[in-house]
Symmetry: C2
Subunit: 695 residues, 2 copies
């Protein structure tokens, strides 16, 4: 992909340049001309001669020079042809603003466009997009009116119209951008391509995107784990819409994309270390907090405030978002006491009182910056008459010069604190209009910091599986047109992948039964085996709680009893089936969707539909993935031995998850699979029942 030509072109041609104001073809030229682009601009339109003091060309062919970047704003059906012409002028990147492709039902046209660009080795943005902006290169190749300030946040979006609002909001908040791209229908270039480029881009520190649908979760996870658990982690913040089915429906009618259920995206984001913004406003808060602080371990937060109420509200937000309130070191407390008034609170939240001037804030924050138990600071200010928002903001700037501790500021109010907020913006101190979002953003900052320090592991894999056996089962089934494998057959597949099953054997006589029971060394249920008997218990063909001591007597008694009750039945022996001990019934299965194949793991039994206590993760899973599924369940307390029961061996559960991960990875034709229940107790796991469906 040629991103150089896209973001740093020396020349840009615009097919569909227009003299009519407030049209796309006019806006793009105007933005390039008026917002400082210094390369060559070639507007193309056979009907006009000049536009914004530029010569307008009749056609691409008439341009003598090289065209690095082509911007297209003409009807969809003519687009591919213009790109071909431009390719002859050395074009390496094209932005197709034109709509009328996939989103309008014209899939073929979009495919042709993508193939053309692929064949010509041209990087394609769009179609159906707003364009791209590189503020650093003073290039606004879009029809959005605002040229953002240069900054280190990259933003790209599947929704073009959202971009204009984002630019306007961001300007107000003092957020600058490194690269800004509307990716539209993403016919050729998708989110992951851009992320890979931006991860290399030295101008970008944080990557933000709005997404309606993503593809290929396993690839996302693999790439982002490599990139973001390396030397240079760059936070990736995603605003993903379509959480609800109504939202997903709106996406389908908006872009023609099918979005998987939100649990799939939650799994992807967790595994790939993607930070999810839950609203547009949170996206900006996160962009600030990540771009203006250095990644580091954050667990304990200290709040400085001149107002009790906001201090309490923010304390709630800190704890609710999963962080902790720092306990201040006694030395810190003593230092605070030395200059704060007696009525001030020197515990966290530190209340410097309503009349605190800038100097008080400055002393306080410089003491807290050195407190050993404080990992990060939230500074709050309400505008009282003695309050000095500017000096207080400057105090934070000063602190930042000597301390790398993350800090987020909320100067509460608007006009009364506006100058203070300006100081923060100019000095790249993260700030939020309201206090509570400072805490939630900081919590996500802490989480990514921690995630990026984790080691990458290989996927769980076991050498002892019998892949050939399962391949044979599937091949035979396919040859018969069979796709569904109920219990007995599914158990064969489970056995081949060495899942722990209940011991069972069919024996033909009492002696054999005894030998088998000595080998089993457990209680069994005994069931008569006969092709002629449907309801075994009606004829005395079932005995429970049989042991090695009682098996011989029971065997003989059962054969005699059944023979009496049903003399015509052919008796082939009895089935000895290990009896399940008490334990927790879990469910382990798969869910295949447009993003990939997820494993599902959680509480089974009667509460499964009520509490929906299940977790998802995309295959293949690492040990950490499996453990995180287990520990993420509410019912994990049960597994840890709540109520006096013995704790379950989590390694055994990890193994069951790992074997399933390996199975579905080895056999992509598996479309449905449920192990239900997976019985779990202190002795390990047992597959009690299973069901498999292949394509």
């Amino acid at each position: 992909m040629n991103f150089e030509a896209l973001f740093y072109p020396k020349s840009i041609a615009i097919v569909g340049a227009s003299s009519r104001e407030k049209t796309v073809g006019n806006d793009v030229v105007k933005n390039l001309v008026r917002q400082g682009y210094e390369g060559k601009i070639y507007p193309i339109n056979p009907k006009i001669n000049r536009l914004y003091d530029l010569k307008v060309y009749e056609s691409i062919e008439k341009i003598a020079d090289k065209i690095d970047l082509l911007v297209v704003a003409i009807p969809a059906k003519f687009v591919a042809e213009e790109i071909r012409k431009s390719a002859e002028k050395g074009t390496k990147a094209v932005i197709v603003i034109s709509a009328g492709f996939k989103e309008a039902g014209n899939l073929e046209l979009e495919k042709e466009l993508a193939e053309t660009c692929n064949e010509l080795e041209i990087t394609l943005i769009g179609p159906n997009c707003l364009g791209a902006i590189n503020a650093e290169h003073s290039m606004n190749a879009s029809f959005a009116a605002i040229m953002p300030p240069v900054g280190d946040v990259a933003f790209f979006s599947q929704s073009g119209a959202l971009c204009t609002a984002v630019l306007d909001y961001a300007k107000d908040m003092g957020i600058g951008f490194s690269k800004f791209v509307s990716i539209g229908n993403k016919a050729a270039l998708d989110e992951l391509d851009l992320i890979k480029y931006l991860h290399e881009d030295p101008k970008t520190k944080v990557i933000c995107l709005y997404a309606e649908s993503l593809e290929n979760a396993p690839e996302f996870i693999k790439v982002l784990r490599e990139l973001n658990r390396g030397e240079n982690p760059k936070p990736i913040i995603v605003l993903k819409s379509g959480k609800t089915s109504a939202g997903a429906g709106a996406i389908a009618s908006h872009t023609g994309s099918l979005s998987s259920g939100d649990s799939a995206y939650e799994a992807l984001f967790a595994q790939a270390g993607i930070i999810r913004a839950n609203s547009i406003s949170e996206l900006f808060d996160l962009a600030q907090v990540f771009s203006m602080n250095e990644l580091q371990k954050v667990k304990k937060v200290t709040i400085i405030t001149n107002a009790g109420g906001p201090g309490v509200l923010t304390t709630d937000a800190v704890v609710e978002s999963g962080l902790e309130m720092a306990e201040l070191d006694p030395k810190t407390v003593a230092k605070l006491h030395s200059f704060l008034p007696a009525a001030a609170s020197t515990h966290n939240p530190v209340d410097v009182l309503g009349d605190a001037v800038g100097e008080v804030y400055e002393k306080t924050i410089s003491v807290l910056a050195k407190d050993p138990g404080t990992d990060a600071i939230i500074l709050l200010l309400t505008p009282q008459s003695m309050t000095e928002p500017v000096k207080t903001a400057e105090a934070v700037v000063k602190m930042r010069k000597t301390s790398k501790k993350p800090v987020v500021v909320s100067l509460m109010g608007r006009a009364l604190v506006a100058e203070g907020v300006e100081v923060l913006k100019e000095n790249k101190i993260a700030s939020t209009t309201f206090p509570e979002p400072a805490a939630t953003a900081l919590a996500k900052f802490a989480k990514f910091s921690e995630w990026s320090k984790e080691k990458n592991e290989l996927a769980l894999s076991y050498d002892d599986v019998d892949k050939a056996k399962v391949a044979t089962i599937f091949t035979e089934a396919k040859s018969k047109g069979q796709t569904s494998f109920p219990e007995a057959e599914a158990m064969e597949i489970m056995r081949a992948y060495k899942f722990p099953l209940m011991k069972s054997a069919v024996v033909k006589n009492a002696k054999e039964a005894l030998r088998m029971m000595q080998e089993f060394n457990c209680e069994v249920a005994m069931k008569i085996v006969s092709p002629d008997i449907l309801h075994k218990s009606d004829v005395g063909g079932v005995s429970l709680g049989v042991t090695a001591e009682t098996v011989v007597t029971e065997y003989q008694a059962m054969i005699k009893r059944v023979a009496q009750n049903k003399p015509e039945a052919k008796l082939e022996g009895v089935l000895l089936l290990q009896m399940a001990k008490k334990g927790t019934e879990l469910i382990l299965g798969i869910n295949k969707n447009s993003l990939g194949t997820m494993l599902m793991f959680g509480l089974g039994g009667i509460y499964v539909e009520i509490f929906k206590d299940v977790k998802f993760a995309f295959a293949p899973l690492t040990r950490a993935d499996a453990l995180s599924m287990i520990n993420g369940l509410h019912c994990s307390k049960l597994l840890e031995g709540a109520r006096g029961e013995k704790a379950v061996d989590k390694e055994k559960i990890i193994e069951a998850i790992g074997r399933l991960s390996q199975l579905v990875n080895d056999f992509p034709e598996i479309v449905e699979l449920d192990i239900n229940p997976l019985l779990v107790n202190a002795e390990g796991t047992k597959v009690l029942d299973a069901r498999v469906v292949i394509e």
Copy 2:
């Protein structure tokens, strides 16, 4: 209470007026003088002569005229004395700004202050507060710098410092206030007093408050149900801090108040129809949406947007907040088709496309205002180059003149849409800076609208309870110093209040056993009764599944068996105890806290601590309260007959809840009570075990 003197005084004296700038005693005088108060102002300070062109008085005694309102900003210990002096000048209201009372540990001083005001029949605001503002009367009797515009939102707060920020935020958002009060330590006047006054106040449409602790939930519930299910419901929006235990701790050190757990506040808010704001920013959104729309039934929402992405995000927010997306009438769709471009979406969210001008929005909203399936409208706009924010805002204003349907607007961005936002503010159209909060605010609007239409019911009450019996049990216990009632004794209390218990009887011989079993008509467990036998089953003293048919044989066998095994034991007979049928184990109990006595009801058994599927409600409960507890549980699906089981009779559960409500209301000395389990199945409920503790 004399609120006239507080909010509409003709004269105000300020004890502690100061010439030193940026002090409380200076700010209050300055604010009164400069912000247009037209009554008489009497600054009092023996050391100065003039202040802001006013004569300064040496003492209250020197003022010849009547003083309606006294503002006090002198050290705590002198406050009460000044109030006494002022009372002689006819003062009927006092604002004590001074700190140094309860919050500083001086409880006695605060008590004296409250008693003084009570004795003199003076309405007291504070102490430890910021003051009060009545914009309509041009009176800023506070040390907050901003005089807010006149509006119909009343705001009062337990945190004074929060008030200054609220005024500054609100000014930016165009929210005006009717009354604005910092209530401080609320030594005499509390939230409910103010709510009652503001409910009568014709200038107030919406009541907002910030609270750290409230008192007397039952009284709150009673008063608010009467007020807000009457002719003139006024939404009460509360921002309550101290959700977490860290937050509650911060409150304790901030104001000295003890806050109950958040579940108590959640119960209070639900029963009293109080709307909870979860953040400062939500408080403003709710204030706008409630004050600028008329209460009415809202279930189905239609979104109009010129941008797909924001439309999807808002669709998610609508559904997640509990509302539904409207399905447009075919006639509506046809009308929209007649003027919208082909590429526009005429389904909900209605996408008028990025180039929609004001006229397109106007036509669209006027069509949707008449759509029969649309209860409310959210209008979104992103600033594209053809977009007309002002004309679009004007289109909403026009629609509002002919339709009462609630509407919330989000003009996305800041500078590009600022003029449009101004039009909305001037015309009292609710708007949010970001789109998602429009949906959540609308959902709370819908919920209160519905709540206010519900009928008030009497508390559940049963005539057949034996109150005298329980009184006797408690009196006897108290005389012995007994406070705890384990199973057998607790069951007596349950029996007196006619809770359904398992049938049981002690019988002395086989004949008596048979007669009892014929009366019982159910299976029983049989247990030996003997003062000498501790472990009944060890001596063969327990039989399960005994019926009327087997009881005689079993009785004789048990007596014989036990006599053999334990010859020395004195056998007094056997206990026949009805055996529990299958059912769901629930827990029903009470939780006494600083707000009152709550009933707790939810899923019992091993999942109780894991899923915490319990609901709370303050006693006394109505039928609707009980039903709402039941239906609010996740496990209510189980009760409705999930998985093929018979549905439970909810009336029976309501009755159990109602009887407990009556019991704890009749006997306030009950401090702990648990019915665990309460077995519930298609046949009804059974108390299987109970435990009671009194003071």
